[in-house]
Subunit: 209 residues, 2 copies
């Protein structure tokens, strides 16, 4: 699924989704207006109306959206009903945490296996997911048509692993190594930076709006 919306709209969809899931049961079964969502999240209501209209056709004048339908539409848009295979390279603590995590399934991701170069780890399992030798990555990804990879290797080998993933046909990479990766052609790399998230969170008092 590939859709064209602005990054700004996209970045707000999870806010809406989270807000809707946090509603008490009775409100989840009722209707909700874009204005009410905008107010609750401190966003501009014209913006919210446009965002919601770009992913759902369920909005009705004076009534708003059915909360549950809207949640479903946003979830469908973000692919939560998919079964997209994902591989994880680098079986340190962070990589192992990824294999342990069952939460990815709720968002339409199947974490298939991990890769590492440590022969001691190769062949072992975490949470029913096998750890394979990194030299097998290309073949595994190609034959299973894997498009999504997570990088949790040390920073010194992250670019090399990124390039290997690109060769293996992977198109989207979530990188946790503390180094900014250059995206090979045709590959989208998101450099995740937990320290930076924390800096933004902890150091700034957000103004309303």
């Amino acid at each position: 699924m590939t859709k064209n919306i602005t990054t700004q709209t996209l970045s707000r969809l999870p806010l809406y989704f989270n807000y809707l899931t946090s509603l008490p049961e009775d409100k989840k079964n009722g209707n909700i207006s874009a204005t009410a969502i905008a107010e609750a999240l401190g966003l501009n209501d014209v913006q919210v109306r446009k965002d919601l209209a770009s992913v759902s056709r369920g909005g009705r004048p004076k009534v708003g959206y059915s909360a549950s339908e809207l949640m479903g539409d946003i979830g469908k848009f973000l692919g939560f009903e998919n079964h997209d295979g994902v591989v994880v390279a680098g079986m340190g603590n962070l990589g192992r945490a990824m294999l342990e995590c069952d939460g990815f399934a709720d968002y339409g991701f199947d974490i298939l296996c991990g890769f590492d170069c440590d022969k001691q780890l190769v062949g072992t399992e975490i949470n029913g997911r096998i750890i394979r030798d990194i030299s097998e990555m290309t073949e595994f990804c190609r034959s299973n048509n894997i498009k999504i990879g997570i990088i949790t290797v040390p920073e010194t080998s992250a670019q090399e692993v990124c390039n290997k993933m690109a060769e293996a046909g992977i198109e989207y990479i979530l990188n946790f190594a503390a180094v900014r990766l250059n995206a090979p052609e045709g590959v989208m790399v998101h450099n995740e930076n937990i320290s930076l998230t924390l800096a933004m969170l902890a150091r700034c008092k957000f103004s309303e709006q």
Copy 2:
């Protein structure tokens, strides 16, 4: 350090910072305009000009910003020169990864110690950081004036740990447990959701702008 800027501006500051750090050395030593940054990142240049003006006074008409000064100003704004103590609750793989990580220091964070309820782990060290009994958290945080906590416990105990952190005087919490936490009064909680980040990244083709 507490400053009032909009969440929108704040969310773009790391983009600017990352872009500036990714420049080749000769460009880092030169000047750069808000327009050039806007173009490189596919953002609106009026917006970028306003964002930069809110954190740096170094902009000059027709010349732009000294790239290195601008980087310094954004870094200072985001508190990268601070030494803010941080504690991590939950010593599973993800929590252990946090203690192992030295990258937080670059952003002005000192990861001081971990907490867990497993007596086998208490007293052991990871990367020179001791794991303490979770029952000691309140006293430790109070006596060390800790304001920032990271939650990596299982979802079933996350809210309880969150409440304990609040009692201990912690004001900012980064939550990795797969459950949306209710923020106690006076505490800001950021519910980090790696699966959702991946959904946004992998499933949507961003339009330019």
